[in-house]
């Protein structure tokens, strides 16, 4: 009971807990959750949000360090663009491998995650290492590159607003535009999309890869600009993997991804508090996340089976 109280207090118990812990943790989850949701919507199994996030973090850090002298809006805009471009490019490798060589994106994106991880490891001990060359991390970005806080005295930063805006835009594109409709059609049935709609499925899938990578890359930029202010190895404690749970719980609907990301952000924030106050290990959250995914999977599947049973074999009449 103490543990649950601590969990709740850590996530929602105070305005600080909510604005500075829960929502701050929800921000990267929202970005990567959207990345996964977009990809899965089109049937693209992008397991590489983690690597794309890191690519975005690297590019935006490099830009922030190089452009320190420029006005703040320019630096921040540049970080956003660089983060998205790097994430998209990283995903683009997997897209190219699938398109040209038929490589399963599941395998290639996992490989690319590790390549990105090692790339970061090298950069922060090499070209991007801080000037004193003691710690394995980049120099801290200039104040002009730090993303503004949304509320006075709270850690919540611009990234959260961007993420929510991105969720809205993603939802709008998916439901209201021709491109979004193609994405949904290809994801639901590539055969019907091609046969009935003459949709160019490979091109649609390429676009989805890039968009998904861009969202994940933005998560990296947002973490560097809004939270860590530097690049280091543990910048993502597996956000790219938790993202799958975030997207799945939201049933791949961008609107629900917002809530789902806040839910998982709260779980993580609460778990940290739970560990501090009640001694319950915070890793239990991962087990909870896993059980949520498995539960959703089993429930969905059993409902399908039940639905199939209800439909008897019969002549198809009027």
């Amino acid at each position: 009971m103490d543990a649950l109280t601590a969990l709740w207090d850590g996530a929602f118990g105070s305005s600080y807990a909510f604005w500075s812990a829960t929502l701050v943790r929800a921000t990267p989850l929202l970005f990567v959750g959207l990345a996964v949701a977009i990809a899965f919507r089109a049937g693209v199994l992008n397991i590489g949000a983690e690597g794309q996030l890191l690519a975005g973090a690297v590019a935006s850090t490099a830009f922030a360090l190089a452009a320190a002298g420029l006005p703040q809006p320019v630096v921040i805009a540049g970080m956003i663009v660089c983060g998205m471009a790097a994430g998209a490019a990283w995903a683009g490798i997997a897209a190219l491998l699938r398109h040209r060589f038929g490589v399963l994106e599941v395998i290639s994106t996992i490989m690319l995650n590790f390549v990105a991880l090692n790339l970061v490891g090298w950069l922060i001990r090499g070209p991007l290492q801080e000037p004193s060359r003691i710690n394995p991390q980049s120099a801290t970005i200039a104040a002009s590159a730090r993303w503004p806080q949304l509320l006075e005295g709270h850690r919540l930063h611009l990234g959260f607003a961007l993420a929510v805006a991105l969720a809205v835009v993603t939802w709008w594109v998916l439901t209201r535009t021709a491109i979004g409709f193609r994405v949904r059609a290809v994801g639901a049935s590539p055969r019907a999309a091609a046969s009935a709609g003459l949709v160019d499925a490979p091109r649609t899938i390429l676009g989805v890869f890039l968009a998904s990578g861009a969202c994940a890359g933005l998560a990296g930029a947002s973490e560097v600009g809004g939270v860590t202010w530097a690049l280091y190895e543990g910048i993502s404690p597996g956000y790219g993997y938790t993202a799958i749970a975030v997207a799945l719980l939201a049933r791949l609907d961008p609107r629900w991804v917002v809530l789902s990301a806040v839910f998982f952000g709260a779980l993580e924030a609460g778990a940290a508090a739970m560990q501090r106050q009640a001694g319950v290990p915070s890793v239990v959250v991962q087990a909870i996340v896993a059980v949520v995914i498995l539960g959703v999977l089993a429930a969905t599947r059993l409902r399908e089976v039940a639905a199939a049973r209800r439909t008897p074999v019969r002549a198809e009449g009027l």
Binding site: G102, A287, V289, A290, A298
Partner: protein, 299 residues
């Protein structure tokens, strides 16, 4: 020169051993057409299982405990993927998180009052005579027992895949399940068994890590080995010998970093750590790499 080479090679094989266990298991699973990216969960479960069992019953029991823990994770995966036909990727991801979360939690409780749970460990066991061979002796034959088990397992598995009807049935299931069924093969059972074997081997990977290398349990100590194992299977082009070789490549990459540190070379060892993955991607991009993958993988 030998003073550098021998420790390097010895460390390469030591690092490769747990990787090879996991990768050979995943190899069998993938040859049945199933990709288990939840292998990481089985490995970490194996780590904890080995710790708990060995702590009270000795190192031998540790391997059994690790294998059983991995087997359990395999059973959960098979239940979802084969019986319920859920998506392999999503289920696998969940299984990884599940393994990491549950083991971390359980371990914290085991060590809650500052108690330490010590694992029984297995020391390297020099093979009489063979271990005195120049160069090869210290490299190949002064290793802990699990490494020797692999020396036997790799050719055995290669033989089994090519020269038994069980091996044929496994490959047929992964290539073209419908044709396999038409030939009278119980493909669901084949998949169950292949996944269980993969889970058990993942568990043994974890047990080897704990009992023969680290000597204790750390949260998240599987450190991505489940994913590395998947890369190894690809690099090994889905054959046991190739997989063993690919495990050595990954072993060498991480052994290099210790060598560099020992020599005080200021080279970015991350490049070497990343190299095997890049190699795997390049291989996948070539036609031969694609042809080697089971045609029904992931379906």
């Amino acid at each position: 020169m030998e003073s550098i080479l021998v420790p390097f090679l010895e460390s390469m094989i030591r690092t490769a051993t747990p990787l090879a266990f996991a990768a050979l298991g995943e190899l069998v699973t993938e040859r049945a057409g199933v990709i288990n990216i939840g292998l990481e969960g089985a490995i970490i479960a194996g780590c904890l299982g080995a710790l708990v069992a060995s702590g009270s019953l000795g190192a031998g029991a540790g391997f059994v405990g690790g294998g059983l823990a991995g087997l359990f994770m395999g059973a959960v995966f098979a239940l979802f993927v084969v019986a319920l036909r859920t998506d392999q990727i999503i289920t696998g991801t969940a299984l990884t998180l599940f393994g990491l979360g549950v083991t971390g939690t359980v371990h914290r409780y085991l060590t809650a009052d500052g108690a330490t749970v010590a694992a029984a460990t297995v020391a390297p066991w020099p093979v009489p005579l063979l271990s005195d061979l120049p160069l090869l002796g210290p490299v190949l034959f002064r290793q802990p027992a699990p490494t020797y088990a692999l020396y036997a397992l790799v050719p055995l598995l290669a033989w089994w895949l090519q020269r038994t009807h069980g091996g044929l049935a496994l490959r047929a299931t992964g290539e073209h399940a419908e044709a396999a069924r038409a030939a009278g093969i119980a493909t669901e059972r084949v998949r169950w068994l292949a996944i269980l074997f993969g889970g058990m081997m993942g568990g043994l990977c974890g047990a080897t890590l704990v009992l023969a290398q680290v000597g204790t349990f750390n949260e998240g100590m599987s450190a991505g080995r489940g994913f590395i194992a998947i890369a190894i299977v690809v690099l090994g082009r889905w054959t046991p010998l190739g997989t063993a070789g690919a495990a050595l490549v990954f072993g060498a990459a991480s052994a290099l970093q210790f060598t560099f540190q020992a020599l005080n070379w200021d080279l970015p060892y991350q490049v070497f750590l990343a190299l095997p993955y890049v190699l795997t991607l390049l291989l996948l991009a070539t036609l031969r790499g694609r042809a080697a993958a089971p045609a029904g993988l992931g379906r």
